[in-house]
Assembly symmetry: C2
Homo-oligomer: 137 residues x 2
DNA sequence: TATTGTTATACTCTATAACTATA
DNA sequence: TATAGTTATAGAGTATAACAATA
């Protein structure tokens, strides 16, 4: 059977990303977190007090989709919204959130190691540079 | 602002794939096709008569999701299902489907060229090899 | 006027279970 | 019994429009 798409970088990119995300989602299952939630948690951990709008811009997530995501994290006691002024929220991790961020960090490290183990060492730096060129504005 | 994830290959992979797919979806808009539909069309064009189940396996699309996809393509007069035996379908492109596959091919070529133009030439071969290692079974 | 956050809604992709018809 | 295809359904990501409150 012929695969007319496998030699296209864009197609390989899609397949590789799908495989990676499926594996990462499985790695997050024991923590009961989605990829998007884990991403937001890590970002708040690195930027305590960040405004919701800035988080949206940094992650390319629309505010309409960020609202329910943060509400879930807040209702789990992981994140706290703190008014910065009358209309914007600063985001903080609770102690539980900090602990969970540690766990997520471990899952990420494990996932990334398994991922890069599949790639021959001489390609790794090139892969990283190329991928960044593809999405960085 | 700190980005605690940007140095992770898995994260860069996700962001790059999202950016690529969004651009490709825009490129397909004039053809009124989704990415998954375009993918299936190209695959049938390269493998006329392929059974539905084999197409599912090759693209990692579940049969339950392939059925409505093919029904859409068939109702647009692009694909024809032809019984192979009492329970399996061979898939063929109609003349309209062949013409549409040509258009899709052009959109893919344009998209892939724009994508790789963002990557420095010395990284391109490495990128392709690395991506294939990440999703090939 | 522009920005922040929210609500409602819809579309796409993906996943599972249950079912039929056939091999 | 196993396989091919279908149906129904649900979850998750993403997109737009409309809105209230505030800068």
């Amino acid at each position: 059977m012929k695969d007319p798409l496998s030699h296209f970088p864009g197609y390989a990119l899609r397949r590789a990303s799908n495989a990676s995300m499926a594996a990462f989602a499985r790695a997050l299952e024991p923590l009961n977190m989605r990829i998007s939630e884990a991403t937001v948690l890590m970002f708040i951990a690195a930027n305590p007090g960040i405004a919701q709008a800035r988080l949206c811009a940094a992650l390319d997530i629309q505010s309409a989709n960020m609202t329910p995501l943060l509400t879930r994290l807040e209702s789990q006691g992981l994140v706290r919204r703190e008014p910065l002024d009358g209309r914007s929220n600063g985001l903080h991790l609770t102690p539980s959130g900090l602990a969970r961020a540690e766990d997520v960090n471990g899952a990420i490290a494990q996932h990334e190691a398994a991922l890069m183990a599949r790639v021959a060492p001489e390609h790794r730096a090139h892969l990283m540079t190329a991928l960044e060129a593809l999405w960085t504005h």
